[in-house]
Amino acid sequence: MEITVDGRKVRIRSASTVADLLGALKLNPEETLVKVNGKLAPGGKRISPKDSVRVMRVIFGG
């Protein structure tokens, strides 16, 4: 399925979870937080094409 992440379209397997999404995007869960429909979501949260997903990189230097 196609999902929008921070305004970008990303293709992932259907019935995927937040953890699958991060894996597909090659992002380290240790450095990111994910909001699904405006709320923070755990790795096991299922996402569908209707969802609005925001992936935030939160580990920074400085």
Binding site: N28, E30, G43
Partner: protein
């Protein structure tokens, strides 16, 4: 990739979870996460006797997530433990970066009614970090900036009669510092490092406390979001040049595969800290803390590293 906790329910109450904490192998809802977060910070402050009734605490506030969350936590603690807070923000002069976090620092202090003192490199040293690095090169940017910031924080906290300086170092920073000092074969530095400074005592040194010492950086970001603390998630433009950045990425890769690696490094350090501190005290006890011939601040040589650095620039 290591598997995230499979459930999306809170480990404690079964309600929908808001976050997966791989290092604990738990998912937690917002309410249980914030409760756990706050009690961990308070426990750290209590365990290391960071705060005492009546003390005046200078909060080193960059305007980033760590220092803002620490300010909120200390402000909360000050409601039950009478301590006085004020914040110090150092404006290093980093174009396009510091002005944004400075805005956040001012806003948070206004909201919490905490007095704020802004000190700039330009006013104190006659040069910004940007201009200094044009001559010095960006490779050692964090070392220069760190020396200058520590100098100003100590000097102004003392001037404003603070008993302690609160620093927003989190457990990721701690794990990185431990690894960096091992990789550079500088074990003595670790003897002076910890949740509470003070291995070397001098009347001109203000004790530094680190209430977020045992709190992971990602948890701090999540707490800020959950509490509606509006944070700038931006990176210092010089950070990518630093050795710390390499170690940060290395540890996060290890953490992804072997969850809790970073906290285990912190715990291993704490288990050996006393021995390392005693080593420093034994060696340094015979040496006298001098006063820099140029600026009068405490140092171990005739001229302190800041004055040496500025003289060469």
């Amino acid at each position: 990739m290591a598997k995230l906790a499979a459930s999306s329910k809170c480990f404690k109450c079964g309600k929908p979870a808001a976050i997966s904490l791989n290092y604990m192998q738990q998912d937690l809802c917002q309410s249980h996460f914030t409760e756990m977060f706050e009690s961990r910070v308070k426990r750290t402050a209590r365990e290391y006797r960071m705060l005492r009734k009546g003390e005046k605490i200078a909060v080193a506030l960059s305007g980033g997530k760590d220092s803002c969350v620490m300010l909120h936590m200390l402000h909360g603690i000050s409601k039950s433990l009478p301590i006085k807070l004020f914040a110090i923000t150092i404006d290093e002069g980093i174009a396009g970066y510091r002005c944004r976090t400075l805005h956040v620092a001012k806003r948070e202090c206004r909201m919490l009614k905490v007095p704020l003192k802004v000190i700039s490199f330009h006013k104190e040293f006659g040069k910004t970090l940007d201009s200094l690095l044009k001559k010095k090169g960006v490779e050692r940017s964090c070392s220069f900036c760190g020396v200058m910031r520590r100098y100003l924080l100590n000097k102004f906290a003392r001037k404003m009669k603070a008993d302690k300086i609160a620093i927003g170092h989190n457990s990721d920073d701690v794990a990185q510092t431990v690894m960096m000092n091992l990789m550079r074969n500088e074990p003595e530095r670790l003897g002076r490092f910890g949740p509470l400074s003070g291995a070397i005592e001098d009347e001109l040194f203000i004790t530094r406390i680190k209430p977020l010492f045992l709190t992971p950086e990602r948890d701090i970001a999540a707490y800020a979001i959950m509490k509606g603390i509006e944070i700038e998630f931006s990176e210092c433009p010089y950070a990518r040049h630093a050795f710390r950045q390499y170690v940060r990425e290395m540890l996060n890769k290890a953490e992804e595969k072997y969850p809790a690696t970073k906290l285990r490094i912190v715990r291993a350090f704490l288990a050996q800290q006393k021995l390392m501190q005693d080593g420093v005290r034994m060696r340094r006890g015979k040496e006298k803390i001098l006063r820099c011939k140029s600026c009068g601040e405490p140092c171990s040589r005739e001229v302190c590293s800041l004055c040496t650095m500025l003289e060469r620039s």
